[in-house]
């Protein structure tokens, strides 16, 4: 493997978060180095999207430190935070395209708002990204005319239009057919290899995670239970991880009386 620059693009330390009184994340420590693909895995509801929201500065940090591209997110002013975000790209789970604009206008929006490029250059740049996502010819369609997988890819095209140093991708393959999701996996690898992006992918798909990840972080009920390469994960003897690898449902031995009590509890 090529020797990588060891500079970190993301450092999270001792992060604790709450929604109201409910604790969602506990003692999160995580770092991602430049040019790395980090996959964050976990059951649904384990706090993956919440972690992303905190990293992106969308929620106010109460406890812990998050450093994004060497800047401490909580200490930035509003304008500094917006400036920092121009260097990152985020693809949301649903695509989050603006319904009132065409796909093309959606993808060009960051260039229109954040750069002084002329109209022609912007058009060409957006065509390149659409081509990359195999979405050529859709630029004049409205988001409502696209399928779920196409929306996700259009969202990804918008996220990478500014050639960000760091890309976040929430659930790329959730709800997609195997072929489309395999294509997305290849695309993620391609973005890292050709455009030198560092990429953080949130997913609960094992196969996709093992295909693209340099390292995998496993989140369970708001706690990180393991960070490591694929080999480390495969060798782990933590029962929660083994269950996940073997796609076993979490089984608690069932006590009939206790079960009945739980169901009938007022």
């Amino acid at each position: 493997m090529v020797k990588r620059n060891t500079e970190n693009v993301l450092e999270v330390s001792e992060l604790n978060t709450w929604y109201g009184d409910r604790k969602i994340l506990s003692d999160i420590n995580l770092s991602v180095s430049r040019n790395e693909i980090m996959v964050i895995m976990g059951h649904s509801g384990s706090g993956k999207s919440t972690l992303l929201r905190y990293i992106l500065g969308l929620e106010k940090i109460k406890e812990g430190i998050i450093k994004l591209l060497n800047k401490e997110v909580a200490k930035l002013s509003k304008d500094e935070l917006y400036k920092l975000r121009k260097r990152i790209g985020v693809a949301f789970q649903s695509g989050a395209l603006f319904n009132s604009m065409t796909v093309g206008e959606n993808i060009e929006l960051p260039l229109h708002e954040n750069t002084d490029l002329d109209e022609n250059t912007i058009k060409i740049m957006s065509r390149i990204k659409l081509e990359l996502m195999q979405l050529s010819g859709t630029e004049s369609l409205m988001p409502a005319e696209l399928s779920g997988g196409m929306l996700k890819r259009a969202g990804l095209a918008r996220a990478v239009i500014m050639d960000p140093e760091l890309l976040f991708f929430d659930e790329p393959s959730a709800g997609l057919d195997p072929i489309t999701s395999a294509h997305l996996d290849n695309l993620i690898l391609q973005l890292r290899d050709t455009l030198n992006m560092s990429i953080i992918v949130v997913t609960h798909e094992l196969e996709s995670a093992f295909k693209i990840a340099d390292r995998i972080t496993i989140l369970d009920k708001g706690e990180i239970i393991l960070v490591g390469s694929k080999e480390v994960i495969k060798k782990s003897n933590d029962s929660r991880i083994i269950n996940m690898l073997e796609r076993r449902a979490i089984s608690n031995p069932l006590d009939a009386k206790d079960y009945l009590n739980r169901l009938t509890k007022k």
Binding site: G57, K78, Y82, K83, G89, F92, A96, L109, E113, M162
Partner: protein
């Protein structure tokens, strides 16, 4: 117990007002600091203003006709039909024009703005804007607020003009009040002061409608009391319409009392 409940409610209301205040501050701050986007503003002017003209014309016409009818019936009893022009002119410029236009704009534009921004919130589109380094206050809210402040007074003016024409139609054409006395009387009665009152009201109403409607949609996620998703959007849209209607009527009284 009761007292405690009241305290909690009061502090909730204060927190809400604070959040709404910060929201307005952010939007106005973006209005004052360049860069400006003319495109976004024009789009909103088209939506708030141009597309509402027809509704306002129709409403203004009927309102003008009905107040002329009512005043005629009343004035005839006192034998002072010559006052019809001033009655129609004053009631339209001071009260009915600004208030009814505002209520029409709430129904047509405020509700749509609230629902649109609420949907953007629940679909993470507002988060997406933030993540692109685009300030959603600047991009979404400021153009709407400016369009509201610019368009509502113009719509109000249209309402008043069409309303006067409706009054003229009923008074002069149907009931044979002389056209000369109708307009002369109106001209004598409606002063600059009255026009200023109407203008002030309509500017304030424009700001209030857009502020309340956009804030409810934008801060949908802070509302812990109910469901999110499509039900949440429908609930806050209703809420926006009710709150802005009541605020308009209340501030109408307040402004009248202050200016008179």
């Amino acid at each position: 117990m009761r007292l405690q409940l009241k305290k909690i409610m009061l502090s909730n209301i204060l927190i809400r007002l604070g959040i709404a205040g910060i929201f307005l501050y952010e939007a106005i701050r973006s209005l004052l600091i360049p860069p400006y986007s003319i495109n976004l503003l024009l789009k909103q002017i088209l939506f708030v203003g141009a597309r509402s003209v027809l509704v306002i014309v129709v409403a203004g016409l009927f309102v003008g006709m009905v107040i002329a009818l009512q005043f005629y019936d009343t004035l005839v009893r006192f034998g002072s039909i010559s006052l019809l022009g001033s009655a129609v002119g004053l009631s339209l410029t001071r009260e009915l024009g600004p208030v009814l236009t505002a209520l029409m704009v709430i129904g047509r534009t405020g509700s749509a703005m609230c629902a649109e921004i609420g949907i953007m919130r629940i679909d993470n589109q507002i988060d997406a804007l933030e993540c692109m380094g685009i300030d959603p206050h600047r991009y979404l809210i400021s153009p709407r607020i400016l369009a509201g402040i610019l368009c509502v007074p113009i719509l109000t003016a249209i309402f008043i003009v069409v309303g006067i024409f409706g009054g003229y139609f009923v008074g002069v054409i149907l009931f044979d009040v002389s056209a000369g006395s109708f307009f002369q009387n109106m001209n004598d009665a409606v002063l600059n002061r009255d026009l200023c009152m109407g203008l002030t009201k309509s500017i304030v109403f424009g700001l209030l409608i857009v502020w309340i409607s956009c804030e409810r949609g934008f801060n949908l996620h802070l509302d812990k009391s109910g469901a999110y998703g499509s039900e949440g959007v429908s609930r806050i849209t209703t809420e926006a319409v009710v709150i802005s209607s009541i605020t308009i009527l209340f501030s109408d009284y307040l402004l009248s009392a202050l200016i008179l």
